[in-house]
């Protein structure tokens, strides 16, 4: 094995690993050890979250003081449960955790999540020793142990499992996440739920006492539900191992990495220039990039990119056309594309001729294409199609959607609309716009090219009056960006992924 080889597993190892991790992500039974009746305690919230998430398997509470909590049967101990559960979540005070883990091992529980904090993250030898004890019990029993000091797990499919501290229930899909921070995990699941982005697996890895982020990544590589991976990583114990793991995963699925703790002062290795410039963050990010991951410095951009990897085809080049509802957005959209390293091409002759038939006679005949804020709501999807089908175009950026839904929102339920007889008109126009959104989303599959959408209507799309066109777009898997800057960055990073898979150096020119 070379120093830089991808870390591959034998078929037997893969089968064993899958069995192990499916106990965590697809358990047919779950016990909350340390379940509580008090809504102020995590022992209650985690039980309640699992219940509210609609978990389809058998759910049990374990606490000697109760026989039932929020309608869930409660047992004095794990050994008294009617069945051996696949997964146990431990929410007990730190001194009780090792005992509960031993009980899990004795009963034959297959996977354990230690939610409890107060172990290796403390600068305290006794707490560190307690964490070592957790690792020892896990190793001896061959149990999969997540945490300690973590927020839990989610896997919407197949059993609607949302078990942990995070009260969010995004739908099922292809994006898998491992986060060394529970708090960042919360951010990602909230985002996914808001934007209707589907999740395959989520795990908050906590202190990673017995199971490290590399282990989850390796599972994601072989997990059929996972289509793209996002990892929030603050540190690793073995940089080469991380590198070789990512190399293996990224050869098969897109991997997006966000490095936390970038600004920490780098270790100064020696008196040489090279040593003084080689900070840990620079090496970490270089290694992830070299292994085939996309390194992103913002968690929202990382989510946007990972979800695009799941729902959109890769552009086979950097040639992009911007189609805009209005002048200024087209200009900043084109600027953003160029800044991101995309190629804002001159419109090919065939596209010009086709657009001459679609657009009013005075159209600008340039890229960005300005639709001059016309009233014909079908213009956008017709223009996008004319551009997208050109063999000289790799991707289209669409700027401005949902304007009718946005404008009509304040009128819709008003007396004014009633008085002026506008209600039917608004309904019809909304329908046309929804249909246009559907058509644009449909073009992605039809031509096998990405369409990236940004609109200022997104700013008010998720408030008390949701924008139906934006929501419809996102339901169909086309995320609506609030800014063309992030949209262009996603497109450029997707182009890099294509270059990587082609074996070419990544980057513009």
């Amino acid at each position: 094995m070379t120093l830089n080889g991808a870390l591959t597993l034998s078929p037997q190892e893969v089968a064993d690993m899958k069995r192990k991790y499916l106990a965590l992500f697809e358990p047919s039974s779950v016990a909350i050890v340390g379940a509580s009746e008090s809504p102020l305690k995590w022992g209650f919230r985690i039980l309640y979250n699992t219940l509210a998430g609609g978990y389809k398997g058998a759910l049990y509470a374990v606490n000697p003081k109760h026989t039932e909590i929020v309608g869930v049967d409660c047992y004095p101990s794990l050994s008294e449960l009617p069945t051996v559960v696949d997964l146990a979540l431990i929410v007990l005070p730190p001194p009780l955790v090792p005992g509960a883990m031993r009980e899990c091992a004795e009963c034959g529980v297959r996977a354990v999540i230690v939610i409890t904090a107060g172990f290796g993250e403390l600068d305290d030898p006794a707490a560190e020793a307690a964490q070592d004890e957790i690792v020892r019990i896990a190793d001896e029993a061959g149990m999969l142990v997540v945490g300690p000091n973590c927020a839990g797990v989610a896997s919407p499919d197949p059993h609607s499992l949302y078990s942990g501290m995070i009260y969010r229930h995004p739908k099922g899909g292809g994006m898998s996440l491992v986060s060394q921070s529970g708090n960042v995990g919360m951010t990602t699941l909230t985002w996914a739920q808001l934007h209707q982005v589907g999740i395959a697996r989520f795990v908050s890895s906590g202190n990673e006492a017995a199971t490290q982020c590399e282990d989850y990544l390796q599972f994601f590589a072989h997990d059929s539900r996972t289509k793209a991976v996002l990892a929030y990583i603050e540190g690793t114990r073995d940089g080469r191992h991380l590198f070789r793991t990512i190399k293996h995963v990224a050869a098969q699925k897109p991997v997006v990495v966000v490095k936390g703790g970038r600004s920490e002062a780098g270790q100064k290795a020696a008196a040489s220039h090279t040593g003084s410039l080689a900070t840990r963050t620079v090496l970490f990010e270089s290694a992830c990039h070299q292994a085939g991951a996309t390194v992103v410095d913002d968690i929202y951009q990382a989510m946007e990119l990972t979800s695009a990897f799941v729902s959109q085809p890769l552009p086979r080049g950097r040639r992009v056309v911007v189609v805009s509802e209005g002048g200024g957005w087209g200009v900043i959209g084109a600027d953003a594309c160029i800044e991101a390293g995309l190629d804002v091409i001159d419109l090919p002759g065939g596209v010009l001729r086709e657009l001459d038939d679609v657009l009013p006679g005075w159209w600008s005949r340039g890229n960005p294409i300005d639709l001059v804020a016309g009233n014909d709501r079908t213009l956008m999807s017709r223009a996008v199609e004319a551009v997208l089908k050109s063999p000289q175009v790799d991707a289209v950026m669409v700027l401005g959607i949902g304007y009718i839904c946005s404008r009509s929102e304040r009128l819709r339920d008003s007396d004014e609309a009633e008085r002026l007889g506008l209600k039917r008109l608004i309904e019809m126009a909304t329908k046309v716009e929804m249909h246009d959104a559907e058509r644009i989303a449909g073009l992605i599959d039809l031509y096998g090219k990405p369409i990236i959408v940004a609109s200022d209507t997104v700013m008010i799309a998720y408030g008390p009056a949701p924008n139906e066109a934006v929501a419809e777009m996102e339901r169909l898997g086309v995320y609506a960006y609030a800014s063309p800057v992030n949209a262009a960055k996603t497109l450029a990073r997707m182009a890099e992924r294509y270059e990587y898979l082609q074996g070419r150096p990544r980057g513009a020119g």
């Binding site: 120093l3 690793t236 590198f243 220039h273 040593g275 410039l277 080689a278 963050t281 090496l283 070299q290």
Partner: protein, 247 residues
């Protein structure tokens, strides 16, 4: 990628390193460092090690003026800061004067000799480095060079060993990558040759476990061709302390 060459050359490299370690050296001298670099395929400046002022003059004549003269010793780093480098000596008198000045500046440090090098001229100076990180292992660095390298901090890294794509990406990642294009009367830099240098430094780290660091600084583009003008190969006895915290 061409390899270090024949087994003989690899054998010579190993011998250089082991002799240096046996003498307790923490690094190879500049001259020996460049022999190692050259053995791994890095283009290095033409130079001769001279034992005396007279030898230095003869060497200069063989190399052709103008030349640079440097004090050479494994114990000397940052030579130009210490007055141990004379550039652009154009005749025998200038070479003799340079040797005298170096003797005085060395202040008792034992010199291996005087390194006489053909002057290399080019507007573009870069740095190529190699180091071992406790967490990531051997790494290669490319950066825009000159005395402002730390302040400018335009660098890229890869883990060794490197493939051709890795090396080309390192070049493309520099913010100042446009210096490799045709520039102010100079032709475009030979990026394939530069990629070769990056891969060579990676291979030195991979194949020579006793090498702890490599600095090729500066690497000057003479026309479009990269030439290592100064080099440092630092050594650590195998199994020595590596140190360093976790990321």
């Amino acid at each position: 990628m061409m390899c270090a060459g024949s087994d003989t050359r690899m054998h010579d490299v190993q011998q250089l390193i082991e002799q240096a370690l046996a003498r307790g050296q923490g690094a190879l001298s500049e001259h020996d460092s460049k022999r190692v670099l050259a053995a791994f395929g890095v283009p290095t400046v033409m130079e001769e090690l001279a034992g005396s002022a007279a030898d230095a003059v003869q060497a200069a004549e063989r190399l052709a003026y103008p030349v640079a003269v440097k004090g050479c010793s494994p114990d000397l780093m940052h030579k130009s800061d210490r007055g141990l480098v004379a550039l652009d000596a154009r005749d025998a008198a200038a070479v003799e004067a340079a040797v005298a000045a170096i003797d005085e500046a060395a202040g008792g440090v034992g010199l291996d000799g005087y390194l006489v090098q053909r002057m290399v001229r080019g507007k573009r100076e870069i740095i190529v480095g190699g180091m071992r990180d406790a967490l990531f292992g051997p790494c290669v660095m490319l950066g825009l060079g000159g005395i402002l390298v730390e302040a400018v901090a335009d660098v890229s890294f890869r883990l060794a060993p490197l493939g051709t794509r890795d090396a080309l990406e390192m070049i493309g990642e520099l913010r100042g990558r446009r210096i490799f294009g045709p520039l102010r009367g100079e032709p475009a830099a030979d990026c394939d040759a530069l990629a070769g240098v990056l891969m060579s430094v990676g291979r030195i780290l991979e194949e020579c476990p006793q090498v702890s660091q490599v600095d090729v600084n500066p690497l000057i583009f003479q026309g479009g061709d990269p030439v290592a003008v100064d080099g440092l190969v630092a050594l650590a006895a195998p199994g020595g302390a590596k140190g360093g915290p976790q990321a």
